[in-house]
Amino acid sequence: MAVVETPTGAPEAYRWEGNIEELRGLVSERAFTGETMLLNMGPHHPSTHGVLRVLLELDGEQIVNAVPDVGFLHTGIEKTIESKTYEKGVTATDRMDYLSPLSNNMAFCLAVEKLVDLDVPPRAQLIRVICLELQRIASHMVWLGTHAIDLGAMSVLLYAFREREKVLDMLEMLSGQRMMGSYFRPGGVWRDITSDFKPTLVKFLGEFPRAVQDYQRLLEKNPIWVDRTQGVGVIEPERALAWGMTGPALRGSGVNWDLRKSMPYSGYEQFTFNVPLGEHGDVYDRFMCRILELWESMKILHQALERLEDRGPFRSDNRKFVPPPRSELGQSMEAVIHHFKLWTAGFDAPDEEVFAAVESPRGEIGCYLHGTGGNMPRRVHFKTPSFMHISSLPLLTQGHFIADLVAIIGSVDIVLGDCDR
């Protein structure tokens, strides 16, 4: 019972008042005899990427058991959406995965569009694809920077955030906000792209390849990086599937599954791109998958740019679901009625259930939506990749050193807002 003993004379505040019996079943019996040590990591620890707490059972430096503890960022977003109309619900979804808010928007909008059977015009789909790929780049930049800094490569963070800033500037041009834009709405996007967006995107696509080459030159063959990542946190494809892993974490193990390719949505089937795959399922392969994904995102953006010339509506003109543009309000009584109805009561959706999933930078975000027949959902549930990845953390870390735990957490790219919702 070495763990519970408090040094004599320790101040009252330091005395642990928990019940050691609560840990039975979570850690091995050796912890109760004092043979192994229990160590608390987080929730306020920079390398846990947010507020993740991990209870570690250690044999020397080696991890015998890792028990993740989440929920510190639980804000009841699903519950909040249950009391909002469908269009207003979009703003709440931004706050889940705060590094890729547009992917959450996308999952929710797809579910709403499926539930009420609303069509999205081709130009809106194209703008969505551009935004999603930009968001993927921005999210991977944060991942790369923080992952590298966890493993001691300080400068990568600065280079990565420099490029991320450019992407966020572009997203700001579109939605007026850098991060929580709520730019996607049921039926399309909030407004058409602005005139300065396209030249900025062209300029960015000219500069970005060099930046990615820099990252690759900095890390890919760096002996310290390779030593720290190869053969660490290996997961076999069968186990990764059984534990519900998705995204680059699954593709790092060599499973060819990308929703953009396998079950395309929003017109992804019209783009040519590859799905980078790993081989060994270790930290290094997951790293390479994400780096190569940056190149694929650029490919998609180049193709999308060519098609951006085709003008067309950026939002569905089904007035029963989509508010009319401001310009119509002065001329049409119908438009005023629709405007008023949609911004006060919203639209009704059938008492049925749908499931929509998108490929976010981290993996599959699934949105389960159940209508009531009225203007608010009965239930919204988001299946988020970080939640599944944190649940498989004990598997990935067993037998590794504490320093490797930091590498593994970085490699599955968790976002705690995404996990806790």
């Binding site: 979570l26 989440v70 639980h74 059977d117 599937l241 389960y368 009965r378 944190i390 649940s391």
Partner: protein, 179 residues
């Protein structure tokens, strides 16, 4: 391994193999839902995962829905298992209904270990217990929390807005330590 053509309809396949396990099935917006009795959900999941032509090898999501207060069915809760067949690129929803007074369902962690936290989340937020689950603790809410926030009868909390005339009065009732 020879390529096996996908079964046309998962409901038909289940009906043929385990007729007692299929209560109902319907299709909405090209999404098939199979309604099965709670006691058989483990067998059904294993059947759907292992049968050639179906191969729903991946568990995408488990979500619970509370039908209070409309009560379209005698049971209060529904639990949806969203399965995905990576081989054939299609999804399937398996649904069970659970009554309020015996809010319990069998765990499917034996079929997909990834169901572990998804079931814990439902236990935490909906208050449905999963029989045989290896680690049935709360996951998102604090361990000593009362109630299950995602039930429809659980109120959506809010904080009273403080103005200068009532700031002190409201401050007295705020649930955090003072002095």
């Amino acid at each position: 391994m020879p390529e096996i053509a996908p079964a046309r309809d998962a409901a038909d396949a289940l009906q043929a193999a385990m007729p007692e396990a299929l209560l109902d099935s319907h299709c909405f917006r090209d999404e098939t839902t199979l309604i099965v009795p709670p006691v058989q959900v483990v067998d059904v999941c294993r059947f759907l995962r292992d049968t050639p032509g179906l191969v729903f090898n991946f568990l995408s999501d488990i979500s619970a829905v509370d039908y209070w207060p409309e009560q379209v069915r005698p049971e209060r809760f529904g639990i949806c298992y969203h399965l995905l067949s990576m081989l054939y690129g299609r999804r399937l929803r398996v649904k069970i209904f659970v009554a309020e007074d015996e809010a319990e369902a069998p765990t499917i962690t034996a079929v997909w270990p990834g169901a572990n936290w998804l079931e814990r989340e439902i236990f935490d937020l909906m208050g449905i217990n999963f029989r045989g689950h290896p680690d049935m603790r709360r996951v998102l809410m604090p361990a000593d929390w009362d109630g299950h926030p995602h039930r429809r009868d659980y109120p959506l909390g809010y904080e009273q807005v403080q103005f200068s005339f009532n700031a002190e009065e409201i401050m007295k009732h705020k649930p955090f330590a003072k002095e």
